[in-house]
């Protein structure tokens, strides 16, 4: 196994294990912090795919922003002292159904991912992916770019409106 393969399996293990902790941890705070390692692992995968801009974005937005938001969310929704914040309040039946569904989905995804002939594109010029993204974003994907700004604007208004006291 070469170095890249080794790195991939290390990152994959990191992602899977930390994601499992996110789901199965009894303490929601541990879940939130464990999510950080999942995000880191995904950023690592982006690096392996030569998508360095995406990797930096992943760290900036997900770890720097969304994770902080989630932790704030945990801290402001429940009483932290006294009651332990727990996520195991489901009944046996719900767990059973959810488990069954998840298993079916997992199996079909595994079947799909192992049996499909994926579309493989020619590796583009490796190098500065930021430049390529910049060119695409402001030419072919211009509409998406501007639509994203409207989306963000609506998000700002919505956030400010919902969280404002008056």
């Amino acid at each position: 196994m070469d170095l890249v393969g080794l790195a991939f399996y290390f990152l994959a293990a990191l992602i899977v294990i930390s994601a499992a902790i996110v789901v199965f941890s009894k303490n929601i705070m541990y879940s939130a912090f464990s999510l950080m390692f999942t995000f880191f692992g995904v950023a690592g995968l982006y690096v392996l795919l030569n998508a360095d801009f995406l990797a930096v974005t992943q760290i900036m937005v997900y770890i720097g922003g969304i994770l902080v938001l989630i932790i704030f969310g945990v801290m402001l929704t429940t009483r932290i002292t006294g009651v332990d914040v727990k996520s195991n309040s489901l009944g046996k039946i719900q767990v059973g159904i959810a488990g069954l569904l998840s298993t079916i989905i997992a199996i079909s995804l595994i079947v799909v991912f192992s049996s499909t002939k994926w579309f493989l594109s020619e590796p583009k010029v490796s190098g500065d992916s930021t430049k390529l993204i910049g060119n695409e974003l402001l030419t072919n994907y211009l509409l998406a770019f501007e639509a994203a700004s409207v989306l963000l604007l609506i998000a700002i208004i919505g956030a400010a409106f919902i969280a404002r006291r008056k």
Binding site: V112, F119, L142, A144, A147, L151, I157, G158
Partner: protein, 502 residues
């Protein structure tokens, strides 16, 4: 290096085709800033929204016969899209007008500035969705309209059930759009493109793994199904419809659904149409998966579940919520035929559905203004306490059931005839049985209004003359279109052809 000159030439062309949407964005910004500048004036953003919609309508009218793609094949202008955009635009105008007469909004929320602003934002999202031919734009458009509708559903923050509705809407919405983007990524992995036209070309030239294709499309369908509230993606519908302010409920049930159906039809035709046989009016689909059957199953589930559960509801808004699930089922029935007659019947149905459903919700809003409730037991004797409202409500209910001589009948007639023509007799039978079931709960509202509590000497309901004028704006077309429907039918058949790219 980039071919920038050529790009700029194409960009100028694209911008000239994007004028209705641009008008909406500008109206959105103007409303936002006016709301900041004039804090005292009550309805200023509402009027801005109306003006913005009228300008949009003007640009839309000028596009009437255009058929083209814009922004590097990301966006399509065709007759089909324009019809749907008219439905969305007219219902947006209707919803703004209804909002003016909804006391709930003015009493329970602190100012309506953001309210109208977000309605414009949502309209923009829907316009974008109707015309999008790229999976990224589809996702962005769905998110744009969803984010606005999350806030709008919980706009009356002081009302507990509104906040609850908003929260449920956000959670279900996040899950379904998460599933959808996963499906998009699988489809991208299979075909190497996000552009629907290119995906079509790829699927025509290369065989792909059926199971993977099926899974990805089902996942993408969960995003569309959520917007049109088809079973099994309907869980949010009753709670959100009940909790949201009435005009928003009406908006979600008409415009948001129209946008969802538009992209559903466009996605299926553009992605899967086999252009080799040449006859476009009956689509030949690529691949060996029976999409007719998949959609037909969704249709049967939506109709049956919507109608059966509606029987047990005691809240008029919830009844109308389940009825809207059922109506999504009727329209899905027409989608499952996958031919141009089916598309035309969906368009006709939507035009009729818009008028009658907005009308029904408007009556609910006017009644809630007076008695502050939407419980069906509180509707006892209302037919005598408010004769005009009672008569109009009856008309809308008849139309929703699909009985002549109303608009709803014409809509259903064309849907059923499209289904029968395509040879799905069993589906049509299920649809007819469902229509009969739906009669029960519509009659329940009617019964409470006219047959219960007949001698009550409770006070008459009060409403302003202007609000009655608006009521007639919905009631008269409901009758008129039931008799003189030729123009709509002609327009819809003309618009049924979804543009397949160059």
């Amino acid at each position: 290096m980039l071919g920038l000159d050529q790009f700029i030439a194409e960009l100028n062309k694209s911008i000239s085709m994007f004028l209705p949407e641009t008008a909406l964005v500008i109206a959105f910004l103007v409303a936002l800033l006016l709301d900041l500048m004039f804090k005292k004036s009550k309805n200023l953003t509402g009027y801005t929204a109306l003006i913005g919609f009228l300008v949009t309508g003007y640009f839309l009218f000028k596009q009437m016969n255009m058929q083209s793609t814009a922004f590097s094949n990301m966006f399509v202008i065709d007759q089909f899209g324009i019809f749907m955009k008219w439905v969305i635009l007219l219902s947006s105008i209707g919803v703004v007008l209804i909002s003016f007469f909804t006391n709930e909004l003015y009493e329970k929320a602190k100012g309506v500035g953001e309210y109208f602003t977000l309605i414009i934002g949502m309209a923009f999202g829907m316009f974008l969705l109707v015309g999008s031919s790229n999976l990224i734009i589809i996702y962005l458009a769905i998110e744009t309209m969803s984010l606005s509708s999350y806030v709008l559903a919980g706009y009356t923050k002081e009302v507990k059930r509104a906040s609850e509705a908003s929260l449920k809407y956000v959670i279900f919405g996040a899950v379904s759009s998460g599933i959808m983007i996963y499906g998009i990524s699988i489809l991208f992995g299979l075909t190497g493109s996000l552009n629907l036209f290119e995906i079509n070309r790829f699927l025509a030239a290369n065989p792909v793994n059926n199971f993977a294709l099926f899974l990805s499309v089902i996942m993408i369908l969960s995003g569309f199904g959520y917007k049109i509230s088809a079973v099994p993606f309907h869980f949010w519908t009753p709670d959100v419809y009940e909790g949201a302010p009435v005009p928003i409920t009406a908006y979600l049930s008409v415009a948001s659904k129209a946008a969802g159906f538009a992209i559903l039809l466009r996605f299926f035709k553009v992605t899967f149409l086999d252009s080799v046989p040449g006859n476009d009016s009956v689509w030949t689909l690529l691949g060996s998966i029976d999409w007719h059957f998949v959609i037909a199953i969704l249709a049967v589930l939506s109709m049956t579940l919507g109608n059966l559960v509606a029987l047990w509801q005691t809240n008029v808004k919830r009844i109308l919520a389940y009825s809207s699930i059922a109506h999504a089922g009727y329209m899905l029935m027409a989608v499952s035929t996958m031919d141009d007659a089916g598309v035309a019947s969906v368009l006709i149905y939507f035009f009729m559905y818009m008028v009658m459903n907005l009308g029904a919700f408007y009556v609910v809003a006017l009644i809630a203004n007076n008695i502050g409730s939407e419980e069906i037991d509180d509707y006892n004797g209302l037919g005598y306490r408010a004769p005009i409202l009672g008569i109009c409500m009856t008309l809308f209910l008849i139309s929703l059931t699909g009985l002549p001589p109303t608009a709803g009948f014409i809509g259903k007639l064309y849907v059923f005839s499209a289904v029968v023509k395509a040879g799905y007799i069993w589906l049509a039978v299920v649809g007819v049985i469902n229509s009969v079931i739906s009669l029960f709960y519509y009659v329940k509202i009617f019964r409470n209004m006219y047959l219960n509590d007949v001698d009550s000497n409770k006070s008459k309901l009060t409403y302003s003359p202007a609000s009655i004028v608006l009521l007639f704006v919905f009631a008269i077309p409901t009758l008129y279109l039931g008799i003189f429907f030729n123009d709509i039918v002609k327009w819809a058949s003309y618009s049924a052809n979804i543009f397949m790219g160059k």
